[in-house]
């Protein structure tokens, strides 16, 4: 009999626990200073903010006048052409992704990415079609900035690069390393086709921008401080990329109380 009571009590308590705990959560006294997310703001070291803001304004104008209109035009191309460009550019990045995965000790991912490169470069017609995805070889991005972070290199200060946009000291170093070691770029230069390097960068920028037209516009049109919003977004995005964790699990949870007026 006593066992039955215990089981019933346990069952009753467990089924109601969501409601009970949820109403307890409402009692949370929100003291803004306690939130875990404040660490994100503290982590952003921006000693050159005035200079960064000036470069940011320049980039913003360049984006409105040049990049956004081109990206909008690109978006009007038939979707197979857009996908083809996107797949082709992504495939060109894969050799360096493999290098970075190896440098981070991700042997299995490096093996998968190598497989992707082989399959997409051959069956996928020079990377125009992402055949590898269909056979379960998922795309995973890694770069030198992420590798340096994995090795314990800190962010350094925040920088806004002319035309390239938000970055930090570590990621800028990573970007320089990418430029210096990219085998595709090196091949183009050795063949006397150095013009292909900036062309590839420009097409990459248009392709990436075309995928975030609505998100960028929503942020730009509705921010009280667009610069700070982009800076925060950049850090959150990089943090998630470095940790290779599901975004929803990694992003700090704001302890928000529900209040009725």
């Amino acid at each position: 009999m006593s066992k039955k009571i215990i089981i019933l009590f346990f069952l009753f308590f467990s089924l109601l626990s969501y409601k009970v705990v949820a109403s307890e959560a409402d009692q949370v006294n929100t003291d803004s200073e306690d939130f875990e997310t404040t660490t994100i703001e503290d982590e952003i070291y921006d000693p050159f903010e005035p200079v960064n803001r000036a470069i940011f304004s320049f980039n913003n104008v360049a984006d409105r006048i040049v990049l956004e209109p081109i990206a909008k035009g690109y978006k009007k191309l038939p979707s197979p052409i857009q996908s083809g460009f996107n797949n082709f550019l992504s495939n060109l990045r894969t050799p360096l992704v493999v290098v970075n995965q190896l440098l981070q000790g991700q042997a299995e991912n490096a093996f998968q990415s190598s497989g992707r490169f082989v399959v997409n470069s051959t069956v996928g017609v020079f990377g125009l079609f992402d055949v590898a995805e269909k056979i379960g070889l998922e795309e995973k991005e890694e770069d030198y900035g992420q590798t340096l972070a994995t090795w314990g290199v800190g962010d350094g200060f925040y920088i806004v690069l002319p035309l390239f946009g938000p970055s930090n000291l570590r990621d800028t170093s990573g970007m320089v390393l990418t430029m210096l070691t990219d085998p595709i770029n090196a091949y183009a230069v050795s063949e006397g086709e150095a013009w292909l390097v900036p062309m590839r960068t420009a097409v990459n920028a248009v392709d990436t921008r075309s995928q975030i037209i609505d998100e960028v516009n929503a942020l730009r049109d509705n921010s009280v401080d667009y610069y700070a919003a982009v800076r925060s977004s950049y850090y959150q995005n990089r943090k998630a990329a470095i940790n290779n964790v599901d975004d929803s699990e990694l992003t700090p949870l704001p302890l928000i109380s529900i209040e009725f007026e």
Binding site: K3, I7, F10, L11, S14, L15, Y18, V21, A22, S23, A25, D26, D31, S32, E33, T37, T38, I40, I44, S79, Q82, S83, N86, Q211, I212, I213, D214, E215, N217, A218, L219, D221, N222, S223, V224, D225, A228, A229, R231, S232, S233, Q236, N237, A240, A241, D247, S248, E249, L250, T251, P252, L253, P254, L255, I256, S257, I258, E259, F260, E261
Partner: protein, 200 residues
């Protein structure tokens, strides 16, 4: 005894799934209201936005988010300033969400994954939005209170809307010495600009 324990385990297990299923159904209904408003050509831009704003205010933990993003400035402010700030913030939030959802209105979506985070008593729901060239995942963080659900955050491409707003507000509040009444003027002006854009 073993059988009873197994039965209890299954009841608990399925009750969790039922809970997150119920949350997903609620979320889908509310998202559809917003997306349908964009598809309805009979509505004027202003009426459309007001309808969307009402839906957002009913379903977001607006006051809680407003307090959170105000940071230190909240504590120093008087009751009236806080009230004006909350009203301004709710409109600001609605303008942000409406503007974002406008971009997704001609695309199809699916709620692909739902998970209950026991530790924080929050349900995470993934919404995958499909376009011709790919898809984007938006994660909704939903909390239950007094038998109602409230969205407490949105995450797009690893970027939390609430964390971004807090950082953005924090930067602007520093410029006005954490004076919420001065910040209210900035926020009000920004809302006017955004409102004109979305209703033009």
């Amino acid at each position: 005894m073993k059988l009873k324990l197994i039965v209890i385990f299954f009841i608990i297990f399925f009750s969790k799934n039922l809970y997150s299923g119920e949350t997903s159904e609620w979320l889908k209904r509310e998202i559809d209201i917003i997306l349908e408003a964009y598809k309805n050509q009979n509505l004027s831009n202003e009426t459309r936005f007001l309808l969307i704003e009402k839906t957002i205010n009913n379903n977001f933990a607006g006051t809680g988010i407003a307090k959170f993003v105000a940071g230190e400035a909240w504590k120093k402010s008087d009751k009236n300033t806080k009230k004006i700030y909350i009203d301004n913030f709710k409109r600001h939030l609605a303008l942000n969400i409406a503007s974002m959802m406008q971009g997704y209105s001609d695309q199809t979506y699916e709620l692909t994954k739902s998970k209950y985070d026991q530790k924080n008593q929050v349900t995470l729901i993934d919404m995958e939005i499909f376009s011709d060239t790919g898809s984007v995942v938006v994660t909704w963080r939903v909390k239950e209170s007094k038998d109602r659900f409230f969205v407490i955050d949105l995450i797009v491409a690893d970027i939390s809307l609430v964390v971004t707003k807090r950082s953005e507000f924090n930067s602007m509040l520093k410029k006005v010495d954490n004076d919420l009444s001065k910040f209210n003027e900035v926020l009000f002006d920004q809302n006017q600009i955004s409102y004109e854009k979305i209703t033009e």
